[in-house]
């Protein structure tokens, strides 16, 4: 800032005065100059008007709720909370049980056909694939009842599985239900809809 009271103030000094970033001594000198210099005072008034326009500018309303999009982007990366950890563990256990059951059941079903191939179980030969495909085709080409009887015939023709089919289906169903709950597809808490508002600076 010029020490000569007759020289005009540097415009950036006027700005610094309005911003309150001058030292107390510099501020006193600037204030005294502004009180006596019409040209500098006019600049200060114009700049101060900008301060006031900006200070009174209200927030523009937001017409879209950003929450759904933000939460959608956050959910996949969220770590399981303690509350859900046991559900995920149960899900894993149920899935493992269902897989073991299904494997054993499939083994029982397919074991009579093992002699169709020169390999030992669980290798599956081309002949077996063809035979199974033919049976499925027969079932699919006839009426539903015919298909059902074919399925019944398939089951009657082989030893009963170690775990009955209904139980296996129940296991798979339970695993699926746990998976859906664990991933919050089922039993998900729904926040009550609220207005956008808030956001005071």
């Amino acid at each position: 800032m010029s020490s000569d009271m007759n020289a005009h103030l540097d415009p950036e000094v006027i700005q610094a005065f309005l911003d309150g970033s001058l030292s107390p001594a510099e501020a006193r000198r600037a204030e005294a100059h502004l009180a006596s210099c019409a040209a500098c005072s006019k600049q200060a008034v114009e700049l101060r008007a900008v301060f006031e326009w900006l200070a009174t500018l209200p927030d523009e309303p937001l017409t879209t709720d950003l929450r759904p999009a933000v939460l959608r982007r956050l959910r996949p990366r969220r770590r399981p909370s303690g509350r859900l950890a046991w559900l995920l563990a149960a899900e894993a256990a149920g899935t493992a049980l269902a897989l073991v059951g299904a494997w054993r059941w499939l083994g029982e079903i397919l074991s009579p056909y093992a002699d169709l191939t020169s390999n030992t179980w669980p290798a599956v030969g081309w002949d077996l694939v063809v035979q199974v495909a033919e049976r499925i085709w027969e079932g699919a080409s006839g009426p539903i009842a015919q298909g059902m009887s074919l399925l019944a015939g398939l089951r009657l023709g082989v030893p009963q599985p170690a775990i009955p089919l209904p139980q296996i289906l129940a296991l798979i169903g339970a695993a699926a239900a746990l998976w859906l709950v664990g991933h919050r597809v089922l039993l998900r808490s729904q926040p009550a809809p609220q207005g956008l508002e808030e956001g005071a600076r």
Partner: protein, 182 residues
């Protein structure tokens, strides 16, 4: 949850409660959007950057001091996001003058304001939008975020002398544009 303090919501979010963060988004989305809107000047882009700012805030929540107010922090995150976004553009952008065409404004009408107030605010917004991005940045940081010259210099990686001159020129441009209109 609407009655919870920001501090409680921050702590719940850190414990894995995403819905708690949703409540913080509800509280601050308007002001965060406005930071982006003032800096970017385009509503759709501002909404996208506001979303990104909340995602960044969530990722950095562990670095946030929960004893400080959340609002200024998340607005600062938004300002930084927008400044990074603009940084790629502004070196190649010359200050706009009155001869340049600006994209049409999409200001939402505030029913509580009088017609004169609405017109006046609209002109102030248009004047801000007409500034080149680096001038918009200093106006935002000084007038709306309340940063000191030194903090602005750090935020924008510019010397103090540039901050002073950018600030002065941007205010001068606004004064020239507005004194006849408002």
């Amino acid at each position: 949850m609407p009655d919870s303090t920001d501090r409680t919501l921050v702590l719940q979010t850190r414990d894995g409660d995403v819905e708690a963060y949703g409540e913080l988004v509800r509280r601050y989305q308007t002001s965060v959007f406005n930071v982006c809107y003032r800096l970017l000047g385009e509503r759709r882009e501002a909404e996208d950057l506001a979303q990104d700012s909340f995602i960044r805030g969530y990722e950095r929540l562990r670095t946030f001091d929960e004893d400080r107010p959340f609002g200024p922090w998340i607005r600062r995150v938004a300002a930084n996001m927008c400044l990074n976004h603009l940084r790629g553009h502004w070196r190649s952008m010359e200050p706009l003058d009155d001869e340049h065409d600006l994209p049409a404004s999409t200001t939402v009408i505030d029913p509580s304001a009088t017609a004169d107030e609405r017109a006046s605010r609209s002109k102030v917004r248009e004047a801000i939008r007409s500034l080149p991005p680096h001038y918009r940045a200093v106006i935002e940081l000084r007038h709306f975020q309340g940063l000191t010259y030194q903090e602005m210099a750090e935020a924008l990686s510019l010397p103090l002398s540039d901050i002073r001159s950018h600030l002065f020129r941007s205010r001068r441009l606004l004064a020239d544009k507005l004194k006849a209109d408002v």
